[in-house]
Symmetry: C2
Subunit: 82 residues, 2 copies
Amino acid sequence: MFLARVYVTLKKSVLDPQGVTVKHALDSLGYRQVDDVRLGKYMEIKINSGDRQKAEGLLKEMCEKLLINPVIEEFRYDLEQK
Amino acid sequence: MFLARVYVTLKKSVLDPQGVTVKHALDSLGYRQVDDVRLGKYMEIKINSGDRQKAEGLLKEMCEKLLINPVIEEFRYDLEQK
């Protein structure tokens, strides 16, 4: 069994309006030390496999097919054996 | 300058319908090795401060005040000096 933690972020060149909104909200609460906010997604996926390479291949495939939008997003992950 | 990476997840006891939907979608694509999916949020926040303790205090305060919902969510973070 592997626990995959996947971090999905917008590509650097893509505008993040949600992050801008959060930054403005923090500004209006008085947190002026915040320079930038970018929002992304975080996923925890349990993969029932005894083989790290297979689990990793599967994870990459799932990300590219369904979980992320490769036009505007990029992802990184770590894989922990449980 | 610090870069804070914040990982927000639903508490273990809270049902995650979005995760269930993603799991079903993966099932229907044939990924039957996936046992569980939980979705969360990921944030990158740049904090303009030279002092780690101050930046950390600020970050915790912002999370508790605005960025997370402590009733159903929990968060962890790491802080990297830039």
